[in-house]
């Protein structure tokens, strides 16, 4: 659409700008302010420069949390995106079952995050939870409060349970936008199932899948409540993801300087990775 140049449009953006700036700029400035200062209490602060940033960037603890975060985000993306696409492809295209599927699938998305954690906490308990009890009944030694591997398995299964539906709904929306004529043409050419997927369905889903990967990347990188309620970051530190570690430092130990420096580094990592991904997909879109 060709848009007209009109700087008066700024007035329409003003309310949004005021609200978001109030919520984003002031707290961000507070964080920046803390990140360069040292305090011994009583609201007395000293300027420290980039000391906290150096400390955080060199700390083993931060590296470990970041590594766990990357492993978690990578794993859930590798599971949720293909699984979501597969489910979307096999969903009915019309009829009464469509609504039933959509409503039931969207249900986990609207459960408060700590309730999701609580549900899985109960569901996976080895003595009274259905999952824990069944796994132990089948001969697996499973107890997510003691074994790091079991804790990771539960955490990933929980995230797949919680968010795969988002990918399904997005991919399904992309599939619905393909006109029937495309499929008929493919039939006339006697194209294989794979060819239909590769050359018709996948390109049409590309935009929505980009949104899906971006949303899942950002949200899984910021995840806090669900794993915190499920495992509290344990056993030991084995499921302490970045934001759990951050809240521990900021609100648990009240180390404002390091916590603020870590916040900024954390935010920059999310921004950078999102930007890289965004530019890469845009570039490949331009080429094709």
């Amino acid at each position: 659409m060709n848009k007209t140049w009109n700087n008066g449009a700024w007035f329409m953006v003003l309310p949004v700008l005021a609200l978001v700036a109030f919520n984003a700029v002031i707290p961000l400035m507070t964080v920046v302010n803390y990140s360069v200062q040292e305090t011994f209490g009583n609201n007395i602060f000293f300027f420290e420069g980039v000391k906290w940033f150096e400390e955080v960037l060199h700390s083993e603890r931060f590296h470990a949390a970041l590594l766990r975060q990357l492993a978690f985000t990578g794993t859930i993306l590798l599971i949720e995106i293909p699984l979501g696409v597969m489910i979307a492809l096999t969903m009915p295209r019309q009829g009464p079952w469509v609504s039933v599927c959509l409503v039931l699938m969207a249900l986990p998305l609207l459960i408060p995050w700590n309730v999701v954690g609580a549900i899985w906490n109960i569901f996976a308990l080895p003595d009274i939870g259905l999952l824990g009890r069944s796994l132990n009944g089948m001969g697996f030694d499973y107890n997510y409060t003691h074994q790091p591997v079991a804790a990771w398995f539960t955490m990933i299964l929980m995230d797949v349970w919680h968010w795969t539906s988002l990918v399904v709904l997005l991919a399904y929306a992309g599939l619905r936008s393909i006109p029937d004529a495309y499929y008929q043409a493919a039939k006339i050419d006697s194209a294989s199932r794979w060819a239909v997927f590769r050359y018709i369905q996948l390109p049409k889903m590309k935009r929505v899948l980009t949104i899906a990967v971006l949303l899942r990347f950002m949200d899984s990188f910021m995840i806090y409540t669900e794993p915190f309620v499920l495992t509290g970051g344990g056993p030991g530190n084995s499921t302490t993801l970045l934001s759990i570690d951050l809240v521990k430092i900021a609100l648990g130990q009240f180390d404002l300087g390091p916590a603020a420096a870590m916040s900024i580094i954390y935010f920059l990592i999310v921004l950078l990775l999102s930007w890289v991904f965004y530019t890469l997909t845009m570039r490949s879109e331009d080429q094709s």
């Binding site: 699938m105 998305l109 929306a173």
Partner: protein, 266 residues
């Protein structure tokens, strides 16, 4: 193979329902039954847990509080996002692309980063522990999302409609309310759905900004879990009740959900 493909979604939905079933199952049991034996359905069926919630004000006020700030947030987000989305979809102006990207970056800010500064900011403004504090704080991620969704839907409406309306003598506010908003009604519905959803499920900020008067239901649950020990039945009942508002909202938007999740941009 084609005939068996319905098994995939069916199995997936089965997997989704299992933990929810377990929650419901537990909510209808007595604490003794939960801890004492492993049963696939309640043998001593009881609604005691639900009665306890509906007769104790600290419990049911949690629901009222949550619904209150979620509704306020949805109204604020949508009314602020409507003109902004119109500006982005119809006009070019100084710094528009940068502004749009900056708005979206706020969707990427981890709430954990903002928890402490938010607490200080809203305490300083004497808004701590009020509905409006949580509603305003949730604007941080809901407004960018609402602008993004609405802009997608608005760009689907041809510009000629605006121009024709002006020629017919409509003023801008009248055109916007009488003609334009009905045209993007489904978009407004979808954006409202998303605002409701993210405000309803978010807890870290909501919990940080409230203590007693505006405490959300989900936070009441964590308190109960820690102070009164192992009242799993009560906890399960409270959890089951938090699913209902979401289910109601999904039911109303079920026909737009597929398009809406693509943010109007397919």
């Amino acid at each position: 193979m084609k005939r068996l493909s319905w098994l995939v979604p069916a199995f997936y939905i089965f997997f989704l329902m299992l933990p929810i079933y377990w929650l419901l199952n537990m909510s209808f049991k007595t604490t003794n039954e939960i801890l004492g034996s492993f049963t696939l359905w309640p043998t001593n069926f009881t609604v005691e847990n639900y009665v306890a919630i509906f007769t104790d004000p600290t419990w049911y006020n949690g629901y009222i509080n949550s619904l209150a700030y979620v509704s306020i947030n949805t109204v604020i987000s949508i009314s602020a996002a409507l003109p902004a989305a119109y500006a982005f979809s119809r006009y070019r102006f100084l710094g528009d692309k940068h502004l749009f990207f900056w708005l979206l970056t706020n969707r990427m800010a981890p709430p954990a980063v903002f928890a402490l500064p938010f607490f200080q900011l809203y305490s300083a403004m004497n808004l701590f522990d009020t509905y409006i504090a949580v509603a305003l704080a949730h604007c941080l991620f809901n407004i960018p999302l609402a602008v993004w969704i609405l802009e997608g839907f608005m760009s689907g409406v041809p510009k000629e409609i605006d121009e024709t309306a002006y020629i017919d003598g409509y003023s801008f506010p009248r055109f916007f309310v009488k003609i334009f908003m009905p045209l993007i009604a489904s978009g407004i519905g979808v954006a409202a759905f998303f605002c409701f959803m993210f405000s309803w499920v978010e807890l870290l900020l909501a919990k940080t900004l409230t203590s007693v008067a505006a405490k959300p239901i989900a936070a009441v649950m964590t308190r109960t879990a820690s102070t009164s020990g192992y009242e799993l039945g009560l906890l399960a009942a409270a959890g089951a009740l938090t699913i209902i508002p979401g289910a109601v909202v999904i039911y109303f938007v079920r026909n737009y959900i597929a398009k809406g999740f693509a943010l109007g941009r397919v």
